[in-house]
Structures are given as C-alpha cells and as structure tokens.
Symmetry: C2
Subunit: 204 residues, 2 copies
Amino acid sequence: MPKDRSPTRIQKRNRANILEAALEVFSQNGFRGATVDQIATAAGLSKPNLLYYFPSKDAIFTALLSELLDTWLDPLREINPEGDPMAEILAYVERKLQMSKDMPRESRLFANEIVQGAPRMIEELSTDLRVLVDATETIFVDWMDAGRIARVHPRHLLFSIWSLTQHYADFEVQVRTLMTPDDPFDGASEFLETLYRRMLTPQS
Amino acid sequence: MPKDRSPTRIQKRNRANILEAALEVFSQNGFRGATVDQIATAAGLSKPNLLYYFPSKDAIFTALLSELLDTWLDPLREINPEGDPMAEILAYVERKLQMSKDMPRESRLFANEIVQGAPRMIEELSTDLRVLVDATETIFVDWMDAGRIARVHPRHLLFSIWSLTQHYADFEVQVRTLMTPDDPFDGASEFLETLYRRMLTPQS
DNA sequence: CAGACATTTGACCAACTGGTCAAACTCACG
DNA sequence: CGTGAGTTTGACCAGTTGGTCAAATGTCTG
C-alpha cells in the first residue's frame, strides 16, 4: 500500500482507474459476484498491483461507496425551502431522473447493495441520510402547512420520488424490454411531471 | 436425478423444501452470492443429496424463477376491463402492495435478477410479460378514451405502480431505516391511494 | 422378506478466489 | 547517472465452491 504522503502522479491515475473499474464491475455483478481479477483487468492492472493500492476487495467497495454517496445525494441538498414549492419539487424530480439517465451504474450499485440488506451501508443510511431526509421532510411539511402544496405523507412523497426515478436506471432491462421504442426514458419526464403536478396541486 | 415418473412422496417433500430454501437464500444473497451448501443446509439436506434432485445450482434457480413468475404476475391478470376503472386500478395497486408485504423474498429475488441485467429472464420478459403488458395497456387506453380516467402515458402508469409498490419490499432496509416507527408499510396504502386518485381523476 | 428401485452419504476433485511475498523493475531527484 | 523510494510482477497459498461417484442405506411392492 502506498505511503500516505501526497499521492504521486501514478497513484492518482491508478486509484482513479481502479474506482472507475470497480464501479463498472460491482454495479454489474454485485459485491459477491465481482472478482478482484475482473476489477484489476478492467483497470489495466494485475491483481497484486491492484492490491498494492487497496488492501482488500472490501476496501475498494467501501471507498467507492463513500466516494459516490455524496454526489448521489446532492440533488436532495439543492431543494430550496425559499423557492416555489411545486417548482422545487418538480426540479428535484427532474434532477433525479437525469441522474438515473447519466449515472445508471451508480444507481444500480446502491440498488444492489440495498436489496441485499445494505450490510455495508446501514451506518451511513441511519446517520447522514437520516439527517438529510428529516430536513427535507420539514421543508415539505412547512409547504403543506402553508397550503402551497396538497397534503400527503411527506416521507412517502420522498420515497415515491426515489422509487419512480431510480426505477428507470435500476430496472432498465425490464423497462427497455417493454418499451416501444426501447428508450426507457422516453416520456418519463412528462409522465412524472404530470403525476406530481396533479398529486400536489392544492385542492380548492 | 430422480426418474421422471410420477414423483414419490419423498421427491415431492424434498423438491418443495429445496425451492423454499432456495428462495430464502437466493433472495438474500443473489445468484452468485448463494452457495449450494447454504441451500442444502437450509433445506435439511446434504449437498450431494440436493444435487440428486436438481442437476446444478443454475437449474435450481431457473426452476424457482419459472415457478414464481406466474404467481407474481397474477394480480395483473385480475384487472377487469369491465369494472370501474378507478376502482380496478386502486385494487391492483393494493394487491401489489399486499404482495410486497407478504412476499418480500420473491420481490427481491426478481429485483436482484433484473438489476443485474436479468441474464436468466430476458426470455420470459420479452414474451410472456410482454403480452400481458400490451393487454393491460389496451385496457388503460380504452378507459382513457372513454374519459373515465385522466389521460397519462399508459405504460409509464403501469411502471409507476410496479416501482412504487415493489419499492417497499426491495428497498425495505432503506425504507425501514428512515421510517419512524420503522414499519415500512405504515401509511403506504393511503399514500398510494391518494396519489393514484389525484393523478387519474378525470379533469372537469 | 427378497429384490428392485429410490435416496443418502463421505470422500474426492478441479476450478476459482482473495490475498501474500520476495524479487524485479521504474521513476524522480540530487 | 546513481540511489532510494515507489511500482509491478510471477509464483504461490489456503479456503471455498460447484459438482462427481461409488458405495451404503432406506423404502416399496410382489
């Protein structure tokens, strides 16, 4: 393992290559389905060489997860409590949907992990994510109290956005197989906008 | 492997035990994460004994999938084109939600498989399921043409129901972690009813 | 209860996998 | 250009895993 001084040029390049390769391999095969050799080959390294940069398969996976989690949750942090409620929510939905389109591997990586009980993520889920979700729920409730969006269960509202947007990345094979033409995202944006507009428009 | 005459009492019992054990193990660890030994132990058999009933790990998995797929799609077949549109759709949503609650292992089994590209299911997806989905879409479109529910993209409507209901089973760990109290299904039924009622009530 | 057939098992194997290690090689820098 | 640190590699190892096989045991039927 490299010393923990400032990383050399080679260290930076290889570390980046490894994480990129790991994302590709882990997201396609899950943790147990992925082999260190696969990742090494995908990163253009030999197995022992890879293990010179990360002490174990587990360490690669953990590093990858924690590196991605922040990015993954960014759209949630961008919700502005001062903005127009409907616009803010629709923009959040759009950001999440775009993320599914642009980063399907990241989405599937998390999906894989969570479906199997998230043994390596429970920690973050119940701390970092928890705080973010609580804050978002407060924002939603304030908007509902002010009568600016219709009243629904705020936490299920958030779950529904995650569910509906990530579905297009996580279950892409299924969606694509059943869509004609087979673009999974064709019409998704309009559909979701309609859905949330109708659900959340305050009743007169 | 047993001869293919009419199965004996022991064959019936063991085959059932194996499939039950396989559901438990595969849904928790995915195909590659599950070992034949785990399944055998969970079924109360030795490994060679298990392999006397199924020729390979792959065969167990395939048998399990095809046995479950029919059950899994039953709720879809129960949609009645002659019934009241809103009631039919809400009832379908309720059935699917109940299924997530009662059969989370089955849900996760399929989720696992599809997230990883459904290498062992593409066949069924693009034939059996395809037909069912096309038929359902026709029903939805007829209802929309008759002005009995609001117009939305019918296929995305169906995807949304799958996504929202199965989310509670597939991502149970996440949902549970973020719910207080930690019953993932608490309030889900009411939320989904509200959602689909508001989205699909015809606009005056 | 004898024989035929069904079921179960222990021992075994080859392939794979995560990980180690000492030796060899490469690079940056004085 | 030499030297020490950083990097890479082939050989290797122990544990796991899917699967085989012949022999032993159990079960059913005439």
